[in-house]
Subunit: 253 residues, 3 copies
């Protein structure tokens, strides 16, 4: 269906479009992840905003190009913000990404995530444990879930499985250090949102963002062998990511 070089070029195109168009990405995300997420978006060329204030979130989403809804450090204020933000996103037909962080640790959060899936996120990104908690069923396949809910599902980990029900690929870029830096997954979801702002096919956009972040991780790990420095270097690798590097490293099957 797609050769790795096509995905590499797709990722390079999306990265270039984010840089040239500077899309605004509004992020409802947890306090732990806010600063790192903002820096990842800025390094990619996007403009982050983060307010959850009820009196202004609709205005922020209305003037944004994409929305991220991350459920980490989930509280009443944030739930209200999510509702208002999704109303504004639906009205403005903005793409949005759902990242149901840590729902395997909290039944209340998993229940809220299920309600959000009904509102049809453009993309849902989560790990295997979170996917199992969401479906309550360890045998359900991401493909079937994606098809049933008409969304793109990305189950990330050592390998990232990206599916819209019809099309499915596995992205195998990245480095183990990425799991030793907090908010890396959250920042990845924010990058998916930025990609959705510049690529109309959400399955392609998701692949492009995950490839870009994974390749940046590989480049960073060469110079920064431990998580403290790695957290900075991956931002720098994303800032300087070019087509040649993407062509050399993209691993999609």
């Amino acid at each position: 269906m797609h050769a790795p070089v096509e995905f590499a070029d797709l990722a390079a195109d999306v990265v270039a479009r984010i840089k040239s168009r500077a899309p605004r990405v509004h992020c409802i995300t947890n306090y732990v992840a806010q600063n790192y997420t903002a820096n990842v978006l800025l390094s990619a060329g996007a403009i982050p905003s983060m307010t959850i204030s009820p009196g202004e979130i609709a205005a922020f989403v209305a003037s944004a190009d994409a929305l991220l809804v991350n459920l980490g450090t989930f509280d009443a204020e944030r739930r209200a913000a999510v509702d208002a933000a999704l109303d504004a996103a639906e009205q403005g037909r903005k793409p949005w990404v759902l990242d149901p962080v840590f729902i395997e640790r909290s039944p209340a959060r998993a229940e809220f995530a299920r309600k959000l899936v009904i509102r049809r996120p453009t993309v849902m990104r989560l790990n295997q444990r979170e996917f199992a908690a969401l479906t309550g069923n360890t045998t359900e396949k991401p493909q079937d879930f994606a098809q049933a809910h008409e969304i793109v599902v990305a189950v990330t980990g050592g390998h990232d499985m990206v599916t819209d029900g019809r099309r499915s690929v596995t992205v195998s870029n990245g480095d183990p250090l990425m799991s030793v830096v907090t908010a890396m997954g959250c920042a990845g979801s924010a990058l998916v949102a930025a990609a959705l702002a510049v690529e109309a096919d959400p399955w392609l956009a998701t692949n492009a963002a995950l490839i870009a972040l994974g390749v940046a991780g590989e480049v960073a790990a060469k110079s920064a062998p431990a998580p403290g420095r790695f957290a900075s270097w991956i931002i720098d690798a994303l800032y300087t990511l070019d087509r040649a590097t993407l062509r050399e490293r993209t691993k999609v099957s």
Copy 2:
């Protein structure tokens, strides 16, 4: 009026006074910026505190030497905190800085900022878009606004314009990477607050802080060519900033 070397020495003096006196700076700032702002203040030699809890903010401000009011991730709790903090600042005659982040994206926030201007911040630091949103008038000059409200206004960007209505200069230090790191402007406003704690003339204090941060940015950019590492290196450049470097690099006109 002032030659660059005078400004360089001013900046060096203010930097040295912050280091020796270790002023306490209470910051009401957004979640995205808190950690970075605290580290910038610590590297300069100041003591940051950040609570917005209604039961204790007055006590924190009363025992601080300066206050920062930043309107990012603005919510009801923070608005109440601002009121209590400004009461305490007025009572204790503490200098304070207003940083009306992103008011061009939110009419409610712009309205709140206008009310805060009436309470006479010692210094207001903002960018050109925010200034236009505040005044609702793209032709109003910062000089006139500063004079009318009897405050110092710093409109920052590629060049920083600093005016108290009578005296106006342009500080041209800095590096483009500073705009690719989140919270850099917020941290700059916090540094202005620290300068106000050790320099009685708020116009001089503002210039000193913006020169110091801008020169630190130039020094950092020499060693750190991308935003991830740059974010750390500018903190280090501020920590080691000396008079010779300031004299060599200060650009004021």
Copy 3:
């Protein structure tokens, strides 16, 4: 009682156990410290979580191995979260660490800290000013306080004094740069919580964590001479900390 080499081996054992068992540490901590604390825990091999949402904090604590209660950016929501978390910790017999940040600046916060001491934290870590504010008595000795309340007390600073009333030692590892990075003390308390999850003797666990962090600080300072880079390098030093380095550097008397 214990020779430095015994403490070095203790620290190495605890560090190895955290890496192999990956204990879950739930942290109620201030916004300034959340990201850095999470990265310090991840680099040591622990799994951080940070929610304070009333609807789910009990579930998070019930599935955690240790709990941190840090009083920075203290507010009503956080006080309620602390109560719910301590109920869950008591029911599950989970060890917990109290870090009463900045109580010398806020009488309300000091009062709340005193109430928490009655609930018997496994360990209380604080600095000298905070200890004086807590006891309201500059002559009370940590040993007596520890014995009276049947807790471990660690008064940290240039030297860390660790006592359970019967056993007392001074850990003299660390580097002055540690006090120029925000959240370093908070992260240290989180590391104590991780150690409590893998070492049943809380006095030994506290010593092990403080030695490990202090030695990591010494190693980091050799390569990173200023606070911006140091903040990353200490995470890396913790990630790669080995028994030989601990044996070479541990200073306990």
